[in-house]
């Protein structure tokens, strides 16, 4: 860095603007040549977008070996997140989660991990042959949502598995539930375990006021932060941040480069640079507005009756130690409809796309891009859905947590000889595939787990209710691949 940069700089963005102004003649890839060769695509996405869809070159640095503007942009990001180092990720938070695990574990290691992790974490376990020690994250009795690991449960898991290398934490969960991350960090570090945090839904914790603790502020070693979810960058762009001496940033970069593309998109990277600058400068005001909209929507939705838009009142100091009040999570069983049913009606009848609906709840993401008009439409539509479709509450599934019975490590099961069996008669077999409802993408079954009556019942129920159940190779999910053992 020549002169000292500040958060009002966006070095990569500025370099791209300069690149465009210098009117380089491109005899490199991409072959669309600043959009000139692809008129239909250029008309669709815009000339200014295509003109900076470029390849690595000296003035624009190189993501796999950053020495100039990308290095500067990453340093600014590290500063903004209170981290020691930051890495721009262009393969989504999935790639960040995998890089965290692969840079802190090796084959044969074990990891203490809540069951309600995103599949990306379990995928990483398959890739590097790590065995999961699952911690039951707890289930909210009336809402039926999975919560955050209680610190006491983590403590117990650490004591029972002293050889584990890592404790993995969601902060927050999809619904906005936060664990006692400071305490969990203390427990893990006392046994010399690293703490890796999935903050896919927590980018705003670093920039807003009165937000739950962020991973970096709690002293965690690494975190994966989806800038694109609540931070305003383009889909698929994320940050991986690290802090402290337990992780070596140079090694993390090496691990990232094992699987990351060598043609990283400058559209994604510049969006990260601009979003970081924007949040660092205006995040407090932005998230004050977001929180105001969420609080308003919650009050209005709770005023309709039947729905329960929950918030900080569910904090219990055990498996709900904080709550992200910018999330608009709504329990729908009180109007006699599953969350996924309301989710479908909102989309099909009202043209409103929300983040997800599961059995008992739905989640609307409120962010930097929302305004009052949109909130009024959501609230009014939910009021109409109750009037037109509401039923007596009956016969709905009231438990989300299906306790896993791990028979093989995910990697063993994934690579074991397999055979397909009809799903309906698969009870008692060991699944070699994932099964999950998407979103939120939390596994009901992961490779290596016993197909229990509970798991099977939940899958069949979710299928019947119209949830997108996916994972298995059989797209219709009539068959599931199971491991042939012995």
């Amino acid at each position: 860095m020549g002169e000292k940069l500040s958060q009002s700089d966006a070095p990569l963005h500025e370099a791209l603007v300069e690149y465009r102004e210098r009117r380089f003649v491109p005899f490199d890839v991409p072959g669309h040549k600043q959009g000139r060769g692809t008129p239909e695509l250029t008309a669709f996405l815009g000339k200014s977008c295509l003109s900076v869809d470029v390849n690595s070159m000296k003035p624009l640095d190189n993501l796999s070996h950053p020495t100039s503007v990308i290095r500067d942009a990453e340093a600014l990001a590290a500063g903004a997140f209170g981290a020691d180092s930051a890495f721009m990720m262009v393969g989504g938070t999935t790639s960040a989660v995998q890089a965290m695990i692969m840079s802190s574990c090796k084959g044969g290691d074990s990891i203490i991990i809540p069951r309600n992790v995103h599949r990306s974490a379990i995928n990483a376990l398959i890739l590097c042959g790590v065995t999961p020690v699952y911690v039951d994250p707890g289930t909210h009795q009336s809402l039926g949502i999975s919560l955050g690991m209680a610190a006491s449960d983590v403590e117990e898991a650490v004591r029972a598995n002293p050889g584990a290398k890592v404790v993995f934490v969601n902060n927050p969960t999809y619904y906005g539930v936060c664990p006692d991350i400071r305490r969990i960090v203390e427990i893990a570090h006392a046994s010399d375990m690293a703490v890796l945090v999935d903050e896919a839904h927590g980018a705003h914790f670093y920039f807003g006021e009165d937000m739950p603790s962020s991973a970096m502020s709690a002293g965690a070693d690494m975190s994966s932060i989806s800038m694109h979810k609540t931070g305003g960058s383009l889909t698929q762009s994320s940050f991986l941040v690290t802090k402290g001496t337990r992780v070596d940033p140079a090694y993390v970069r090496t691990v990232i480069n094992l699987t990351q593309t060598t043609s990283a998109s400058y559209l994604l990277m510049s969006s990260l640079d601009i979003a970081r600058k924007e949040l660092a400068l205006n995040g407090v005001e932005t998230f004050r507005k977001v929180l105001g909209l969420a609080e308003y929507a919650r009050a209005e939705i709770n005023g309709i009756g039947g729905y329960y838009a929950f918030s900080r009142e569910i904090i219990n100091g055990r498996d709900v130690c904080d709550f992200d009040a910018t999330k608009l999570s709504v329990h729908t069983l009180g109007i006699g409809l599953a969350g996924v049913e309301v989710y479908d009606i909102l989309r099909d009848d009202y043209g409103i796309q929300i983040e997800f609906g599961d059995m008992g709840n739905l989640l609307a993401i409120i962010s930097v891009g929302d305004n009052h008009y949109a909130i009024e439409r959501l609230v009014s539509s939910m009021s109409e859905i109750k009037r037109l479709h509401g039923k007596e509450r009956f016969g709905l599934w009231d438990h989300e947590y299906v306790p896993p019975v791990v028979k093989l490590s995910p990697r063993e099961a994934f690579y074991a000889p397999q055979r397909p069996v009809p799903l309906a008669s698969s009870e008692g077999e060991i699944s070699s595939e994932f099964v999950m409802c998407y979103p939120p993408g939390i596994p009901i079954l992961a490779p290596g787990e016993l197909i229990t009556a509970d798991a099977l019942g939940y899958i069949l129920y979710a299928k019947k209710k119209g949830s997108l159940v996916m994972g298995p190779q059989d797209m219709k999910l009539e068959y599931i691949n199971v491991a042939i053992t012995g």
């Binding site: 009202y350 439409r377 009037r387």
Partner: protein
């Protein structure tokens, strides 16, 4: 120096009026409010640069959005106007002695203030004791009411901007709920001629049809609106504007109008073939 106001009716079609002067330009939290004086149309008022009304032809719009439902059901007593900050719709409603209550909900208080100050010709009846003004999003206001109004008039801007929520299924559903069993919903329905407006018209029509057993569309000729040909939607739970028109009763009220009359009432529902086709397709 010549000063002209120009509205782009489509990206390729412009409509211009020569100005005498600009009276006012003010940015509200919701939209840009402008008032101009011209020789041809007198004083006129725009929001975000789009024509809302002119002194010369506003009577056409306000006659048609009010007298058509009022002549269909002379028993209307409780009326809700959504939008309509200029006060022209309220002005026509207050001419009926039988109307007991007019609630007007406009999201933008500044529009109402500006119109009260500079557009006396439309706003002069906003102080009528039967009239209550509310400043909030119409979509929010309507959620709170059930079986409350005999007539709801949606006097809104186009569905691109603050008015967007007033062209949605959730809005029409909430209106249905807020109306009495005799209830009528009239809304400005865009023009059928230019594509972007025609699509908005079709969408609105589909959504209203889902809730109301009686759904008709009528027309008027408004020189300063895009294409000059404007539609209104008439939706109702019980009253049919053609079957139930009581011409003698309405004429007995002695309300003088510049555009509306009871012959034109029925004629306005007779639509050109291309409009009929577009509505049938929707």
């Amino acid at each position: 120096m010549e000063l002209w106001y120009t509205e782009e009716h489509t990206p390729a079609v412009r409509f211009s009026i020569k100005l005498k002067r600009q009276v006012l330009s003010r940015q509200s939290p919701f939209q840009l409010i402008d008032i101009f004086d011209s020789d041809e149309f007198g004083r006129f008022f725009t929001l975000d640069g789009l024509m809302m009304l002119t002194e010369k032809d506003e009577f056409i719009y306000h006659d048609m959005i009010v007298h058509v439902p009022m002549a269909t059901n002379p028993g209307i007593r409780r009326v809700l106007v959504i939008g309509g900050g200029d006060g022209g719709t309220v002005r026509e409603l207050t001419r009926y002695d039988k109307v007991e209550r007019v609630d007007m909900v406009d999201i933008d208080e500044m529009v109402v203030q500006v119109c009260r100050e500079h557009l006396q010709f439309t706003s002069r009846c906003l102080g009528d004791p039967r009239v209550t003004l509310y400043y909030e999003d119409g979509l929010k206001f309507i959620r709170r009411y059930e079986n409350t109004y005999d007539l709801i008039i949606v006097d809104s801007t186009d569905p691109f901007g603050p008015g967007e929520g007033l062209f949605t299924k959730e809005f029409y559903g909430n209106c249905f709920r807020a109306l009495s069993e005799d209830g009528i919903l009239v809304n400005q329905h865009e023009n059928p001629y230019y594509d972007s407006y025609a699509i908005a018209m079709q969408r609105a029509h589909i959504r209203i049809k889902e809730f109301f057993p009686i759904c008709r569309v009528y027309q008027a000729h408004i020189p300063t609106y895009p294409s000059g040909h404007w539609l209104f939607g008439f939706a109702s739970k019980k009253f049919d504007p053609l079957r139930d028109l009581d011409a003698t009763a309405w004429n007995g009220l002695g309300i003088e109008t510049g555009y509306y009359n009871t012959d034109l009432h029925s004629a306005a529902f007779m639509l050109p073939n291309y409009v009929k086709k577009a509505l049938e397709r929707s």
